[in-house]
Symmetry: D2
Subunit: 256 residues, 4 copies
């Protein structure tokens, strides 16, 4: 057994005087940082500090573009055109890329945020321009998204590497979708249970759904929610659990 | 006589449904486009279109970062820290750079906008981080600013090429500063008079001040205000007048 | 024959240095002004000036709350919760009401803008909190919306007066909905044709649909699009045409 | 001895998903709530909830208008015109007033926030339009500010009641100004010392400055900083200390 998996986490979601998440607590345990780009969260100063902190911990840096809706934290669906999707992703990824360059590094991946992620996974008309924006900026960037989603198809169509993302702390339905937040079984609160599931995903490429059936689930990266109250402990437990099970935890390698 | 001068203009200042300036009318006559970066003006879609239009006309593309104050169009002074100045300039220039890269080109220069320009010309504590942000992103970029200003000193300190900017349609005081808008002599409304002054600046490196004295004024680039009602005609008149006087009109060459 | 109808127009949609619409040209001919409230368009200074201009022309002043999406001019659907709808409408109407009070007058009506209008007309879950927000601020305010829409039902449920709105320059489908913009027959460009239709709506309470059938259409207010290039002339033609046909043009009276 | 003093605190400074301050912890102990109005902090939903919470605790509700600079939390000076100051204050106070009305209550006071407060206290050209905006909306509102400031003069000139504000947890210079944050003696960290000072201000109308001299300081209201880590405990200690010393703690009465 020789599986490798990435642990990614949304970081840099503070804004001005507002603090969000426990970036310092999580960074020692994850391997990919999805850094907010000033639209749904983050601001230029937070971006600079987050890039510096990720770099210090050897964590791969990625852009986390979202809807320009700070009030809704990028979680509200906004009906934008494909061209607008292209433009807002290119803008945000470019802005973060500048902080990476200034820090002497470069971006490794892009993961759309919140409602934009969900909409792009389900809608080719959004997924395609997003993948194209990423490719037009840097064809070596890796796009993160749900396995089998429109985002995966668009990434492949654009010639981008794609990292299939799974969630250790979220319940799955038998069609591979996530159980909607607020529904029983949506969140896996118990860290030990989450570790067990993460190992199963990483090692065996499958998970158990909320209704008890088995789901094939091959993943390259596992998402940790940084806004859990116990995010740092959860990240540490997950990483140690994976490594104890012989899984190597590492960021995906650039396709560039 | 073999003088060369650049004609620069602020472009891409529309926002969403709002139109500003006559970009299409001005682009055939200028050689450098200062493109708004989504803070004081512009949005991602406007940025993409402006980069494409400048590219089509062979006009050098530069970033025009400003205060994040759309309501004030970047013209209101905001007391930011040097670190904030670094961060907001890096963010905005990076965002525009992405559109340039996606269009197969790259940025040539950076010119701070409005109140940020004025404050940085006068205050080393702002000029220095701005120059450093530009340098940290791309040491080949040219910084635009007033001759003899703190911005010039900062550019030189950072090892950046600096383009000294003069204004053909603004009156000068004897200390080399611009006559404040709203004061008699602040604006040169007559295009022919502006051409005469532009040629004098380009060819002889001097101008006549509002109080009639002579001012030494060596410039590498002349600014055209795109929000004049007659901006396109003014640009054309100025360009033709300069060329008729034997001045070559061309964008400054990258220091990279 | 003794019909009365209101002519309403969206006004005060400028923002900062950006100009939108021909408010001064339209105001002499309309009877109700829907004033943008600083979310999809407008800013505090524009609001003050628009209230003053409407007051000067004896035009009834109403609030025109929209999505907080200046970049999309309030035309992009945003999936907000009913509670968020309540809050954003109350906020915006309250802000405009302050300018009315300071000018010695008061608001007469509220008309949701753009995507919020369309969504609320179709969705009771949005219409209800919008009507409630208006009622909680001032039960004498009149709500504007499509006849037979959820907005009408919600207004009546909240005990508000409702003004049924029709469009003289838009084509109707046989189910009473508007022909989608961009489709043939969506816009009535010819002012004379629009006048003919406006009179038919005002006097006979019916119109002819895009496919030639007759549609019952009783309306209390007709909307004029202020962003037509010929908005002022159109407004004048419409008003004169209505009055020539014996229709009285006047704002609806408060239910208070 | 029969002194009365108000305890005021900035509340409702959360925004969207971002939490700020311990409103629930502080509300039981203060008598006036300065509620952010959606510009420097707060959003429509936060405003509604804050008004409801203040009402439940019998705390007087006031508006806390600030610069439209969420990124800078209203703490950065922005050079606005007097007319812009009038407009932004009227807008924000009006928006909050709507939530008060909808909750069946009304506003009691207005206290400018952050840099706007500091600038208006020192500059008559800003203080005057702010006082006028408040008066034009509701002449019964009480304006809060530094004793002897331009804000006091402007309030009196506009015929508004004025509440003189003092700070129990800030050091004073001998000219009555606050010791600048970051300077030794700027903050009184020890709650017991702050209580001692508060009682001295409330009962004897004087305080001891950072350099040991005595300063005459008559105050109607004491500000508690809600962003102290121990804000709730501090508020409780202060209130209990004042009451134990025979000071009645109560909101100022409307001038209306």
């Amino acid at each position: 057994m020789n599986r490798t998996i990435d642990l990614n986490c949304d970081l840099g979601e503070s804004f001005g005087a507002y603090r969000m998440g426990d970036d310092a607590g999580v960074l020692p345990f994850v391997t990919s940082a999805n850094v907010a780009c000033g639209a749904h969260a983050g601001d230029p100063s937070v971006m600079r500090r987050t890039v510096a902190a990720a770099l210090e911990h050897g964590v791969a840096i990625g852009a986390h573009p979202g809807f320009p809706d700070l009030a809704g934290f990028g979680r509200r669906e906004i009906r934008i055109s494909p061209q607008e999707a292209y433009d807002l992703v290119l803008y945000q990824v470019g802005a973060l890329a500048a902080f990476a360059v200034a820090a002497g590094t470069s971006l490794r991946h892009v993961k759309p945020h919140g409602a934009l992620y969900n909409m792009a996974c389900a809608d080719a008309a959004l997924a395609e321009p997003i993948a194209r924006a990423v490719r037009d900026l840097d064809a070596g960037l890796i796009l993160f998204g749900l396995p089998g989603s429109e985002l995966q198809r668009a990434a492949e169509g654009a010639g981008l590497r794609f990292a299939r993302e799974a969630f250790a702390d979220r319940g799955y339905a038998s069609d591979g979708s996530l159980v909607r937040r607020g529904t029983p079984g949506a969140m896996i609160e118990d860290p030990d249970e989450a570790v067990r599931r993460a190992v199963e995903i990483a090692v065996e490429g499958r998970t158990r759904t909320a209704d008890g059936s088995e789901l094939r689930l091959e993943a390259d990266t596992l998402c940790i929610h940084g806004d859990r109250p116990d995010a740092a402990l959860f990240a540490r437990t997950l990483r140690e659990g994976l490594e104890r099970s012989g899984v190597r935890v590492a960021a995906p390698q650039s396709g560039g």
